[in-house]
């Protein structure tokens, strides 16, 4: 095993003498060994903070009248072993025993440490991720969709009525199939047919006017429209009186030139059509590249740069209840950073509904639903699986046959995830079924909902 487990995990037991922290090396009955960078004059009082994993907090144990059993001096450090009076804290042996158990556990159990934790006695009554459910898959993509959109399909215009309507509805057009459909039928007809496909033909979304389209893909350059199809999509948007947000992914060196050309073309199109467009910033270069086009192109902070932990299992983290409010926030709420973004013309941030609420900072922002990105790879895992039948054999894909147009990856039912192309997404259908949640977001500064059909 390449991973090494120390006798006491260093973040789970920390010693203190007169406010200085010390690494605990060993706890053996009533003997505690710790390491110091220099000699300590008085080791009479030792405080030990042990991490209680299930409560996600430290418990402090203060020992007085400690007896020095051994002092080892080394070239760069000293090691002290003290005898403490355990009678001062009757529960200390229990908690220190747990730490030892945790440290020994990886050597005694095979497989990933995390997947075996539930077998430890002290975690028996804790709600943990259920690995047994990892083998329960839907038989097909369509059955997975039916489960996800089933509740929403029973939500009608009436039952889904929400009190706030001061937001715009946008549709994300983010892959080749959808580009072709738009070119053939137009945006509104596409929206209608996709809602029907998902069983949402009576849903409140049907009655909501579509005012904007997002064209392009945040995650994969091969899924962005080429110049020719983009012209068609823009023309179609213009004729349908829809506003446009162009979506760009992260950019390699080879993509800089085409993107520069795209921005020039967009600028021209805007000038001739008398329109402005938005461009999502998912790459740091766009801060500079978009500077000359401020009159016609508005930058918005893309999903890849507006980062937050997004994981369907978040609520199973031991400290979730204690920290859940803080888990809703990220760096765009920091005033110094939002001021910096504003200075670069970025005032709109793209958020995703992801099972845990987002704290929306001041201003007006967008919320994408019902899919949220969890993971993306610069080298496509699906390509590796289709070409080499080995997900690890990844490489930069230069000529993409678009396996993702036909194939996806299903995940166990209980995690609500799906793999599409080079990314993995979670599904959060709350906005489709709970009008209160939508109202709350709108009240907090979301003035645009962006719906993705896949």
């Amino acid at each position: 095993m390449r991973l090494e487990f120390q006798e006491i995990p260093p973040l789970m037991a920390i010693g203190f003498i007169e406010g200085q922290d010390y690494r605990i090396l060993k706890i053996c009955g009533d003997e505690i060994t710790f390491e110091s960078d220099e000699q300590i004059e008085d080791v009479d009082v030792l405080e030990v903070s042990l991490f209680n994993l299930t409560r996600s907090e430290y418990q402090a144990f203060r020992f007085t009248d400690c007896e020095l059993l051994q002092l080892k001096q080394r070239e760069f450090s000293c090691t002290y072993t003290l005898k403490v009076d355990i009678g001062q804290h009757e529960d200390f042996p229990y908690y220190s025993g747990i730490l030892r158990q945790l440290a020994e556990f990886p050597q005694t159990a095979s497989g990933q440490v995390q997947s075996r934790l539930g077998s430890l006695d002290f975690l028996r009554n804790t709600q943990m991720y259920d690995y047994e459910k990892d083998s329960d898959f839907h038989e097909s993509y369509e059955l997975q969709l039916a489960e996800w959109f089933g509740p929403a399909s029973r939500t009608t215009i009436e039952s889904g009525r929400h009190s706030r309507d001061d937001y715009e509805l946008a549709l994300a057009i983010n892959n080749t199939r959808l580009y072709k459909q738009v070119a053939q039928y137009g945006y509104k007809a596409l929206m209608q047919s996709e809602l029907e496909r998902l069983g949402l033909d009576k849903h409140w979304l049907v009655s909501q006017p579509l005012t904007r389209v997002y064209i392009g893909n945040d995650y994969c350059p091969h899924l962005c429209p080429d110049e020719e199809i983009l012209c068609v999509l823009l023309a179609e948007a213009l004729s349908a009186e829809l506003d446009v947000t162009i979506v760009l992914p992260s950019l390699t060196e080879a993509q800089l030139e085409p993107v520069q050309r795209l921005l020039d073309n967009l600028n021209e199109w805007c000038s001739s059509a008398g329109k402005t467009v938005e461009v999502t910033v998912n790459d740091w270069s766009l801060f500079l590249l978009l500077e000359p086009y401020r009159q016609t192109i508005t930058p918005v902070l893309g999903k890849l740069l507006n980062k937050i932990k997004k994981d369907p299992r978040t609520q199973l983290m031991f400290g979730y209840e204690r920290h859940k409010e803080k888990m809703q926030e990220n760096n765009v709420s920091a005033p110094h950073y939002s001021a910096f973004l504003n200075k670069w013309g970025i005032t709109r941030f793209e958020f995703e509904a992801h099972g845990t609420s987002n704290r929306i900072p001041e201003g007006t922002h967008s919320l994408h639903f019902p899919y949220y990105q969890i993971n993306t790879s610069a080298f496509c895992p699906l390509y590796a699986e289709c070409v080499h039948f080995n997900i690890y054999k990844q490489k930069l894909v230069e000529h993409c046959p678009q396996f993702c147009g036909e194939l996806c990856k299903l995940y166990p039912k209980h995690v609500n995830m799906i793999g599409r192309g080079n990314s993995v997404f979670g599904f959060d259908g709350t906005l489709l079924t709970e009008p209160d949640v939508l109202d709350q977001y709108v009240a907090n500064g979301i003035d645009r909902l962006v719906f993705s059909v896949e």
Partner: protein, 332 residues
Amino acid sequence: MKIVAPLSNADSYEALVQAGADEFFCGIVPYEWLKRYSNVLPLNRRETLIVSYNIGTYSSMRIIGKMVQHYQVPVKITFNSHYYLKEHYPLILDIIERLMDMGFTTFIIGDPALVLYLREKEVKCDIHISSELEVINNVSMKFFNQFDVSRFIFPRKTTVDNMMSCITSSSMQGMEYEAFIMNAFCLYSGSFCNSVHSDEFVSSCNIPSRIARFNYSQQRFAKVDRFYNLKNRVKNLPPEHPAEHCNEQQMIKDSFGKDGCGVCKVKELRQIGITHLKVVGRGYSVKYLANDIANLKQIIEMSGHSVNDPDFSQTIKESFIAKRCPDVCYYP
């Protein structure tokens, strides 16, 4: 060309220096952070408490500081979480100032807001742009150079050609460039991975998955379909058992490169201007790391002597990985 090695605790420092480490990176999560946020709001990207990825005390950092003074092999400290909360920035500033007082002056940062904050507060530290920021083109480099950074760490899955183009097009005098070379290959890109990495469950990339087809799609990839239909039907495969090894030494030797490898490209990386090679592996056993670093040191030396050797890659494969290139190749 220097080797940047992972440091999980003071105990490993000397062994890894002797193996050939030229520089270290480590993470510290002090008690004042852990007490408030535990690992739920992590200070760096190694987010577990049980596995010993991080250093937990300032006294340990002072021990390491003494070692740095003695051996002159510096330690850079990583604060590479993708983002922090507004209440975090002053707290991190305190931590960084304490570390600077101990002589640690370089920080690897993955949150643009922290880079900005440190510069706004006029903190006189060196900043390395973490691979977690996914800076993969020369314009992004110019953007970050407004913050007076001293090194760019190219993310995993950046091709050699792309790095070369970044370095030549950005033409930044005195800039250092670091590339991944060994271990901890990820299925996805660090910067785009928003999954939780905790003690409580495996990373999301380890959740099982199955290939499936959309019913509305064409059937262009029938071969792929047949393969995965068969694979999906074969359930309950017996677990793979690691090959039995005669001794630990052999096991260490055989593990070289298996967890992520790009050593056959060392010469090319040197030629394009990469100044530092990153061996990943905080939390790894020091024996394995020492073997990785010692081998890499030899390979770097060979790359310096083999300017005209067109078969350098092949020579390295034959000498160090017995021609069995691992699946997890950093530079395919």
